[in-house]
């Protein structure tokens, strides 16, 4: 209590500041006057009395200070003075201040942003109960539906049930469909169809994760007992927010998806986004309802419909190794006993060789992680180097400043400033710089992490990342830069205040500690140059990779093609002749549009997914199990639309109908590998088993195309006419001439004239789609270039600063040289050669480091060697030129020195 009121009184004094000082003064004046009166009364001469009173009182200023010191606030006063002085000092050299602040902000901001993204993609634990106890069967990288046997990545529903029933090591097992279903459905009371991302999950999914509803209930085992029985849905908190505006009556709402009406039974908690990082489903529906969700998969009871990611929670005390042994044993037992599994000798032999790998699922799983973990690690190293360069820069700037102030410090010391007070002041100034830079860095980090996640996701709206600025790393980088500022801001402070005053005052420019400063600064600049070279080489390699990638021949011509996603399944179409008719009519109508050259439906074009399996070729006994063929079902104008050249035979035409003989067009790689002898035209093959090996007749050969990525090897591929493969084709491509925007809306209008209810999504040009496939390479190239240039800039500032310092320090010497007849050119050469020496040493150190670093990047490079001499010499050249410019400015200044003036200085 008394302590508290004491603090209160102290604060009161601080607030009253001015008044307080005045009152104290008045009080002491009274004292002095009374004393004087008393002395006069005692008979002392008036003047003598005043003198005595004053003498006895001592130094009034001193006394007043001690009076207010009692309250313990003088440090604030000093601090404010320091801050004031520091701000004035910073404003006096705005260039230096700006560069220091920018270096800090970029260093701190970039590190925090990249780490935040890394954290979101790779490190963050799932927002569920005890995530450390969760494991995933397989890697989680595969998605789709497989009928390959056996498959340790994707599992069938019957397998999941058996594993759940028979295992000894898991407290529960759950399954989720490996793909999100992108459908269009209706919210009750709304007439427009809305895009919805649906995740099918087992009834055990939420109980196993330990996720509890924010409203209503989550799905349970009861919802997943019988096929098609319970049309219930749980919606995500984000979806509830943006599609229902957090309508409180959400639990009474119905969703119509396809022909089925689903009841919303719950809302997931806000932090739960799913188990797959980067994918955020809107709606979770039990796997038992999979046939009701377009496109209507029917694999609930099919042992060969391998489509699920399998996950489980370890029983307490069970290790992942123990669980792995049990799971592998069960994997064999279950697949040997599961009905519907074709146990031919070949399959049994395969099964014998297959092992299930269990992985921790504490941080979820992700294809995004697979794609981006290495680029992110590389970027993390890059920004780490940038931070180092930024710190070196700040160190240099502060060193230069405090050295230039050696004389000022000496003067202030001579006037009675305490050493600790001076050091404290320099400390305050460094601290201010670091904190201001830090604040800018925080702002930059927030902006940059947003930008970065947009770059990573690259408009893929199905993907979403939960990126927040990471506080730990923010504090860490802030700490590093604070430490740098304090260290390099105060080392010279200590040194300067230890000087023998007389020397320092005499020498004026602080030469007594100049050589030491010069050495430290030179070392900093040399390391900056070395680090910059590493960053530049990295940037050069990535830029060349990107250029090489964009020059890759895709096999098709991506210019002037619009691609649209059309969801016929959500509009109620079945995979039958009506669907084929719809596709044909849309193609005809769109082809009739002015400016349209050709159009065609297909399952996909590029970087969207693949449909691949083994094929059997007539005349081979064992089939071609090991040759995977990539299929596509397309319209007859597909090759014209995509600009894929025909090499032999013909493409599809009106003669290829549902009832005519089955035909196929194959790629050149498939022709070469599967039909090596003679022309493949007229040869036969088929999918689905040896008994189908004469189903399809080859009618044409076309050029190979890329399926998933630009850097993939040539793949064996074939095309089938959709008239003979009635299935949903989500992609519609149009080759056109003219204005893209006008064409896009004309096409959409035409489609809706055919069927108003058809949902259209993901409209973009094929060029954009191709560009999107190199997102991470582009990310690497852009960011590393940005940071490389930043590094050069910072290094040049460092070189400029050092050279300016050298020139200032050697003004006398230069003056003498010139007085003795040295021409200006010689002076310039003298200064510039000093700069060149540092760059030379920096390059000598940097080149081996860059070479070693390049080797670590080899995985991410395409068509360029990590020791590419062109990149290396370009980087070195750029550095040398920039450094020359940076050194030339002070050199010119040195050359313009008037010898007489120079000699007169000091």
């Amino acid at each position: 209590m008394s302590k508290l009121s004491e603090i209160w009184r102290r604060v009161g004094m601080l607030v009253r500041g001015e008044v307080f000082a005045r009152e104290l003064e008045e009080e002491m004046r009274l004292h002095k006057d009374l004393k004087e009166q008393e002395l006069v009364a005692d008979g002392v001469d008036a003047r003598e009395a005043r003198y005595a009173a004053n003498r006895q009182f001592g130094n009034a200023m001193n006394l007043r200070e001690r009076g207010s010191q009692a309250w313990g606030w003088e440090w604030i006063e000093h601090f404010m003075q320091d801050v004031n002085y520091g701000v004035r000092g910073m404003l006096r050299s705005p260039g230096t201040t700006l560069v220091a602040l920018l270096s800090l902000a970029l260093g701190i901001g970039a590190n925090t942003a990249i780490f935040s993204l890394t954290d979101a993609v790779m490190l963050k634990s799932l927002p569920v109960k005890d995530p450390a106890g969760l494991i995933l069967f397989g890697s989680g990288l595969d998605q789709g539906i497989s009928d390959g046997f056996p498959n340790p990545e994707l599992y069938s529903y019957p397998f999941y049930r058996e594993m759940q029933k028979r295992n000894q090591v898991f407290s529960d097992v759950a399954a989720s469909f490996s793909m999100i279903d992108h459908v269009h459905g209706f919210i009750e009371g709304q007439s427009e169809a809305e895009a919805m991302n649906i995740q099918l999950v087992s009834g055990t999914y939420f109980p196993m994760l330990g996720v509890h509803a924010a409203a209503g209930r989550m799905l349970s085992e009861e919802d997943d007992r019988k096929k098609g029985e319970r049309p219930v849905a749980v919606v995500s908190y984000a979806w509830w927010t943006h599609s229902l505006a957090r309508d409180a009556s959400v639990l009474n709402k119905k969703l119509t998806i396809g022909p089925t009406v689903f009841s919303i039974v719950g809302v997931a908690p806000p932090e739960f986004f799913g188990t797959k990082v980067g994918e955020t489903p809107d709606i979770w529906i039990p796997l038992a309802m999979q046939k009701e969700i377009p496109p209507g998969w029917d694999g609930y009871q099919d042992s060969m419909f391998e489509s699920l990611h399998l996950m489980a929670r370890l029983k307490p005390g069970v290790t992942i190794t123990e669980a792995s042994a049990d799971s592998n044993l069960l994997f064999q037992q279950i697949l040997h006993g599961l009905s519907g599994v074709p146990l031919n000798p070949e399959n049994l032999q395969q099964l014998d060789k297959t092992r299930v790998e269990l992985n921790s699922m504490a941080t979820g799983f992700s294809r995004l992680r697979y794609e981006f973990s290495e680029p992110l690690k590389i970027l993390m190293s890059v920004v780490g180097l940038v931070l180092l360069i930024a710190c070196a820069n700040i160190a240099n700037l502060l060193l230069a400043r405090s050295t230039a102030r050696a004389r000022e410090l000496a003067v202030r010391q001579a006037l009675g400033a305490g050493r600790s007070r001076l050091i404290r002041q320099l400390l305050t100034e460094s601290l201010m710089l670091a904190l201001a830079g830090g604040a800018l860095g925080v702002a930059f980090a927030a902006w940059a992490s947003h930008l970065l996640s947009r770059m990573v996701l690259d408009g893929r709206d199905a993907l979403q990342l939960n990126v927040g600025v990471d506080m730990r790393l923010l504090l860490f980088t802030l700490g590093v830069s604070l430490a740098t500022a304090l260290l390099f801001g105060t080392i010279p402070a200590f040194r300067a205040t230890r000087l023998t005053l007389a020397d320092s005052l005499k020498e004026g420019r602080g030469q007594s500690n100049a050589p030491a400063k010069g050495r430290l600064a030179t070392a900093l600049v040399v390391s900056q140059v070395a680090l910059s070279l590493v960053l530049l080489v990295t940037a050069g390699l990535f830029v060349r990779s990107l250029v090489n990638l964009t020059n890759v021949d895709t096999g098709f011509n991506p210019g002037n093609v619009i691609r649209l996603g059309i969801d016929a399944s959500s509009a109620g179409y079945k995979e039958d002749t009506r669907l084929v008719d719809l596709y044909r009519r849309i193609e005809e109508r769109v082809n009739a549009l002015p400016g349209v050259r050709a159009s065609s439906f297909s399952i996909f074009v590029f970087n969207e997914g693949t449909w691949n399996n083994s094929i059997w070729v007539q005349g081979y006994l064992s089939g071609h199990r090991d040759v995977t063929v990539f299929h596509n079902a397309v319209g007859s104008d597909y090759f014209a639309t995509m600009g894929i050249p025909l090499l032999a035979g013909r493409t599809f035409g009106p003669q290829d109908t549902a009832t005519s003989p089955k035909v196929g067009v194959i790629g050149e790689t498939m022709a070469r590998t599967l039909f090596p002898s003679g022309s493949p035209i007229g040869q036969r093959y088929g999918h689905g088993g040896p008994e189908h090996s004469s189903d399809i007749e080859v009618i044409g050969v076309v050029k190979d195309v890329k399926y998933w990525s630009l850097d993939e090897n040539p793949k064996a591929g074939d095309y089938l006419p959709y008239t003979q493969n009635m299935r949903y084709l989500k992609d519609f491509e149009v080759r056109y001439l003219g204005d893209t925007a006008a064409m896009t809306s004309a096409i959409q209008q035409t489609i809706h004239e055919v069927d108003r209810t058809l949902p259209i999504s993901d409209v973009m040009t094929l060029d954009e789609q191709v560009a999107r496939s190199v997102t991470n390479q582009r990310l690497l190239a852009q960011l590393s270039t940005f940071f490389g240039l930043l590094a050069i800039f910072l290094s040049c500032v460092g070189i400029y600063g050092l050279m300016s310092f050298v020139v200032t320090r050697r003004t006398n010497e230069i003056g003498i040289h010139m007085a003795l007849g040295a021409d200006r050119g010689k002076v310039v050469r003298m200064v510039v050669s000093g700069a060149m020496l540092q760059i030379g040493v920096g390059l000598l150190i940097g080149i081996p480091v860059a070479l070693a670093g390049g080797r670590a990047l080899a995985h991410q490079l395409f068509g360029v060697k990590s020791y590419d001499p062109a990149v290396l010499s370009a980087a070195a050249g750029l550095l040398v030129i920039s450094a020359l410019v940076a050194g030339l400015v002070p050199a010119m200044r040195a050359a313009s020195i008037d010898p007489m003036n120079a000699l007169r200085i000091e």
């Binding site: 008394s2 009121s5 004491e6 009184r9 102290r10 004094m13 009152e23 104290l24 008045e26 009080e27 002491m28 009274l30 004292h31 006057d33 009374l34 004393k35 008393e38 006895q56 009182f57 001592g58 001193n62 006394l63 001690r66 009076g67 207010s68 010191q69 009692a70 309250w71």
Partner: protein
């Protein structure tokens, strides 16, 4: 004028005791009172008096109020608080203990 150095730590005690004897006093009166009662042996330095008063204000032992002197000049008058009275007892007891201890040491020949 024969001046004695104040024993360290006794200034607070002297001020507290002086204020205890009188309702309220300003700084000069306090100094004079100590000087007179000690028959000019103890003289409080103004340089220590005012910082000491500030410290005692912080501690809450005294309260200050502006008033007018007999000659109608503004002066800051100090008076003892309850906490100050308690502190006086504490310091007196402490002082007595120290004095007795010193006396014992000196008298033990």
């Amino acid at each position: 004028m024969n001046r004695e150095e104040l024993l360290p730590g006794t200034l607070h005690l002297l001020i507290l005791k002086t204020l205890a004897r009188n309702q309220q006093m300003h700084g000069y009166e306090i100094a004079r009172s100590i000087q007179q009662i000690s028959q000019d042996v103890l003289q409080v330095e103004e340089g220590s008096l005012y910082p000491a008063l500030q410290r005692m204000l912080i501690k809450g032992w005294v309260k200050a109020e502006w008033g007018a002197t007999a000659e109608n000049r503004r002066a800051r008058y100090y008076r003892l608080t309850a906490a100050g009275r308690k502190q006086l007892e504490v310091e007196k007891a402490q002082f007595d203990r120290v004095i007795q201890a010193i006396a014992r040491v000196i008298q033990t020949a």
